[in-house]
């Protein structure tokens, strides 16, 4: 009778300490990001989705605490995916949440801590976020967020010289998009040989990707 009780106590203590670890880890990551009040960055954005044939855009990214992020292009016409403001990780950590330990996962030769964040407020647009934290550098390497309005999006971060501040050099943002279809009568197209052969991978119509490469940060 003694042993099962001890096992249960040890298990509960383990759970408690694990949860505490996760909360501490999140707090450390959040504190690191909180040091930045605002930043301006120049960079490039490559948006890929089956129906868009657009060049790599030169963009200006502006962030202001707590979660205000805008992406604007120099040439005016830029397709900015909705929900892309989530690339500021402060957005995920800006509301109150409950952190759940998801264990560890090895991604690209790195052992990352998986943490699931459940917002406590019912008003929050975020339903669930899963963040993959590099515990040694205290940065989020990957995240997956399900929102009420913009569906699910995923992010992968690559860090370089701004790793001490928790700011990435490159973010790959994967998002859900609606199919695009316009009636042929509206465009009066020239039916050349190549257009007749154009087929599309329909699975690619609803999945988009934006790769943002940050070239220069001006912080605070």
């Amino acid at each position: 009778m003694k042993y099962p009780t001890l096992i249960i106590i040890a298990f509960l203590m383990g759970m408690y300490s694990s949860a505490q670890d996760v909360n501490t880890l999140i707090k450390l990551v959040k504190n690191k990001l909180d040091n930045i009040n605002r930043y301006q960055a120049t960079g490039t954005m490559k948006t890929s989705i089956a129906y868009l044939k657009i060049p790599i855009a030169k963009v200006n990214i502006q962030y202001r605490k707590p979660n205000e992020l805008t992406i604007k292009s120099n040439n005016g016409v830029t397709f900015v995916p909705k929900g892309v403001d989530a690339i500021s990780l402060q957005n995920i950590f800006s509301s109150e949440f409950t952190a759940i330990d998801g264990g560890t996962e090895k991604i690209k030769q790195k052992v990352l801590r998986v943490v699931r964040l459940l917002p406590t407020s019912q008003q929050s647009n975020i339903v669930l976020s899963t963040v993959y934290i590099n515990p040694s550098d205290l940065v989020v390497e990957k995240s997956s967020t399900t929102t009420k309005d913009e569906g699910t999006y995923e992010m992968e971060m690559q860090y370089g010289k701004y790793i001490q501040l928790g700011l990435p050099d490159k973010v790959t943002f994967t998002f859900n998009a609606k199919d695009y279809k316009i009636p042929k009568g509206l465009t009066l197209d020239f039916d050349n040989a190549s257009s007749k052969n154009q087929k599309i991978d329909k699975t690619m119509l609803n999945k988009g990707k934006a790769e943002i490469v940050f070239q220069q940060y001006t912080i605070n």
């Binding site: 129906y51 657009i54 040439n75 016409v77 998009a177 257009s195």
Partner: protein
């Protein structure tokens, strides 16, 4: 008499006809109405073209609605109607003279019938080019002045795929030059057809209306999407190639879907369309010369 002198005379005749200026006035009016409508409520048009995109992307529509985009929209609509304006002058070339009773008089001059017909044809080409320059000025220059410049969006349905292509600002102007050049060849086919038909009439209304009817019927058939017509009818209609100018705006892309600056998706298709149109011009003019040389001139 030199060919240049003959051409000068024909151009003088064209410039003295009031109907010549109807075309310039019509183009100015249509373009100005378009520009006014888009300035007042262009966002609704943009929303229509971007339906579905608006839910997934943020886009500054005001920047997208620039002069280059406007010119493309205007040409899309106008180049369907311009053949009518070309027919208005070219259809009058021989039949107008027959109607006024001056054809016999001209043929008494020491110039061959071939030279007279070629001079009339060249005069029609000059008129067509002037019309296109006028259109370019109004639809491109004026639109750039009103709406500003920027990257250009091209909406397209290719096969079963709807696409939006974006052409960088510094990669657009040469495409318009090429497109207007192509349009000049396409409209010359109409001029050649109208001159050919004008050989058989003694007043200009007949050839003008016949040319317009042929263009309208062929255009309707060219825009039908029925497999049997696609394969067996469309390739033989010159109207299927009139919109070939758009090919200059279909930019080639990399495997990742990134547009390649200075490229054209299917240059061979444009070249073959151009050759077909030039073939039509050659055939119609040679046939016209053949008939005109053997024709009894009774008026």
């Amino acid at each position: 008499m030199s060919m240049l002198k003959l051409l000068e005379i024909e151009l003088y005749k064209i410039s003295k006809r009031p109907r010549t200026y109807i075309s310039f006035a019509a183009i100015s009016a249509i373009v100005l109405i378009f520009q006014f409508a888009f300035k007042a409520d262009g966002e609704n048009y943009m929303n229509l073209m971007l339906q579905g995109i608006n839910d997934s992307f943020q886009l500054d529509k005001q920047h997208a609605m620039n002069g280059y985009f406007m010119c493309y929209i205007i040409l899309n609509t106008l180049l369907v109607q311009v053949p009518i304006l070309v027919a208005l002058v070219a259809g009058d070339a021989i039949s107008g003279e027959a109607n006024m009773g001056t054809l016999r008089l001209i043929l008494t001059k020491p110039v061959s019938r071939t030279e007279i017909l070629v001079a009339k044809f060249l005069a029609s080409i000059v008129y067509t080019i002037m019309l296109l320059i006028w259109m370019a000025f109004f639809s491109l220059m004026l639109s750039l002045w009103i709406f500003g410049s920027g990257d250009m969006l091209v909406f397209r349905v290719a096969g079963e795929v709807s696409q939006i292509m974006q052409i960088a600002q510094d990669d657009i102007v040469w495409r318009y030059f090429a497109a207007f050049g192509y349009a000049a060849v396409a409209l010359t086919v109409i001029a050649a057809l109208a001159i050919f038909l004008s050989l058989f009439a003694e007043n200009s209304i007949g050839p003008i209306i016949t040319t317009v009817c042929i263009v309208l019927v062929f255009t309707i058939v060219s825009n039908m999407n029925i497999p049997i017509i696609d394969q067996h009818v469309k390739p033989y209609l010159f109207t299927s190639y009139l919109v070939g100018w758009k090919g200059f705006f279909y930019i080639a892309t990399t495997q990742d879907g990134i547009p390649i600056k200075g490229s054209i998706e299917d240059l061979k298709s444009i070249q073959s369309s151009l050759m077909i149109l030039i073939g039509h011009i050659g055939a119609l003019i040679l046939l016209s010369i053949y008939i005109f040389k053997r024709k009894d001139i009774l008026s």
